[in-house]
Amino acid sequence: MTENGKKNGAAPLIEARNVTKLFGRIIALNDVSFDVYPGEVTCLLGDNGAGKSTLIKLFSGVYQPDDGEILFEGQPVQFHSPRDARAFGIATVYQDLALVPMLSVWRNFFLGSEPEKRLGPLRRYDIDFAKQTVLEEMGKMGIDIRDPGQEVGSMSGGERQSLAIARAIYFGAKVLILDEPTASLGVKQSGTVLRFVAEARQRDIGIIFITHNPSHADVVGDTFTILKRGRVFGTWRREETSLADLIQGMSGQAELESLKHEIDRITQRSQLN
């Protein structure tokens, strides 16, 4: 990260300052502050219900904070809808990926923003450009799309995830929010995605990487924030922490210990039977 030289002194690209979000009587987020710097991967960790999704939905314009504020490049902003957030260059890749499995890779990549060429009174889809661009964009990120005409349904999970990320980057994302991109992937495919995330960082994009998995966070993260029950449990820079710390921070040593005892008990019982 040091090659970017943005670690210290640079302003955060986007930040949440003391935000609180309520759903009825449930306090989903309580006085949470969170910064994202350009050219860095900020990992957001936490168990289910910790408030990860709520926090990113504040950034992507799905929700508005009840208290506190969101700042973009130092200026307070209010996103009334996902469209507002997108206009600022905040792209969110949700787990459903917004891909159409029965359509080809290049059709998916440009779906909704098709390049066109004039053809007399008509306009036609500039297919050559689309295919070429997909090959190039995926190639730049280190993924070989063998045939841009193949159906997305025939791609592996990791490749699909990468395609969705590449699309967001190509269409000018400054902040890229990845919602558990490795959640349903195997080891090898997670590797594909993590490499992709590392490539995206080289382009000065601020990346928010949400995950359950401390080892995935450890591989690509520059900053780590752990949320617990709607509060920030802690934020560490890479050099201040280790994988073991992250695992411990996420689950708590005591909880892990008690889990271990419980499993031992179950194992013993089944052996007795």
Partner: protein, 384 residues
């Protein structure tokens, strides 16, 4: 075949056998069906063998019968690809015909007014169906079933109250008939075969909308709207606008079809269009269009229309009892659905091969259970 595919230029391509690539084409089922129907009628012991004894006039008859539903088959296949269907288009051909018939032949309005009015009526009903579909979220079958019954009743009730009959005759006495007849149902003669100009309309529609579906952004939007509407919406495809526009489009095509019928028959009949929505459905499904949307082809629908034309002409020519026509159609529909399902399942096995690896047709056939038949009992669970 394995050798052929090993020599592809790009070494990164997922190499698949030629056979499988053919299987992946959506029109495949229709091609097989077309060959099947031709063989059936060639083998049928008829005195007037359709294709051997009277080929040229027979071709004219086959193509006319196909063209009658061709334009609408093209339109409905696009609506189906977008994941919707419309049952009211059949009676809409009757309604538009009645509007022109009553306004012009009975009340003497010029065609220049009655025909655009009929078109506006068709577009409005299409708009209504589309908006209802979007706003209520109910299946389009339910909504358009309602519209269908209303149109059916209105066609009979209005015609009877105006003319005392269910027919409006003498459309050929309306000023401007000759010009409109030339546009919608001119009789052409090419090399001994006679055609209605509807054939040209059908071919032009097939060609243009094939291009439209594959080479414009609207084509992509239509496929995406039927395939994964939520995903399409989230990347900015105006899914609702696409669907409403297509509902209006199929009704505009019903108007074209309705005009062709009244100018050809020189009269309008209230019962016009009964079953038409189903025959175009058969044509579209035979042509590989999925009822669930997201997949299909305009050319496929046109091939389906051709199979329909062949069947209709063939049954009469083979002196079969024409009462059995609909049974034939029904069997054809079911066969087509099963065939397309098998073909598609086979084609989708592409996903089970690791990327970058080569899989020959032989290996693929070995892996896929459907073509092998179900008798080995063990199945191939490792491929699932």
């Amino acid at each position: 075949m394995a050798q052929m595919t090993t020599n592809t230029k790009d070494e990164r391509l997922v190499r698949v056998g030629l056979l499988r690539r053919i299987f992946q084409v959506p029109e495949m089922g229709a091609v097989v069906g077309l060959i099947g129907v031709v063989i059936i009628f060639m083998l049928s012991p008829a005195r007037e063998n359709l294709f051997l004894k009277v080929p040229i006039p027979a071709i004219g008859r086959v193509l006319d019968n196909s063209a009658d539903i061709g334009v609408m088959a093209v339109a409905i296949s696009m609506l189906m690809i977008a994941g919707e269907f419309d049952l009211s288009i059949g009676f809409m051909t009757g309604s538009t015909g009645m509007i022109v018939g009553i306004l012009s032949a009975v009340y003497g309005w010029p065609l220049a007014i009655s025909m655009p009015l009929a078109l506006i009526f068709a577009l409005s009903v299409g708009f209504f169906n589309g908006i209802m579909r979007i706003r209520t979220g109910l299946p389009s079958f339910v909504i358009t079933l309602g519209t269908m019954f209303v149109l059916r009743s209105a066609n009979f009730a209005v015609t009877r109250s105006v003319t005392g009959n269910i027919r409006v005759p003498y459309i050929d006495r309306v000023p401007g008939y000759d010009l409109m007849n030339a546009i919608f149902s001119y009789r052409l003669s090419i090399g001994g075969a006679q055609f209605y100009i509807t054939l040209i309309w059908w071919f032009a529609f097939t060609a243009f909308f094939t291009w439209f579906m594959l080479r414009t952004r609207w084509g992509s939007w239509i496929f995406a709207s039927g395939g994964e509407p939520a995903a399409a919406k989230s990347v900015g495809v105006p899914v609702e606008r696409v669907k409403v526009a297509l509902f209006m489009f199929v009704h505009a095509c019903a108007w074209i079809s309705g005009m062709a019928v009244i100018f050809r028959l020189r009269s309008a009949t209230a019962s016009q269009g009964e079953f038409l929505q189903f025959t175009v459905l058969v044509a579209a499904v035979t042509g590989g269009n999925r009822m669930t949307g997201g997949y299909g082809s305009v050319i496929g629908a046109s091939l389906g229309a051709l199979i329909f034309g062949l069947t209709k002409t063939g049954i009469v020519a083979a002196f079969w009892d024409s009462d059995w026509f609909f049974a034939f159609l029904g069997v054809m529909l079911l066969l087509a659905i099963v065939l397309n399902l098998i073909l598609r399942t086979q084609a989708e096995y592409i996903g089970t091969t690791a990327m970058g690896e080569e899989e020959t047709d032989e290996e693929w056939l070995e892996k896929t259970p459907v073509l092998q038949g179900q008798d080995d009992g063990k199945g191939n669970p490792e491929n699932d």
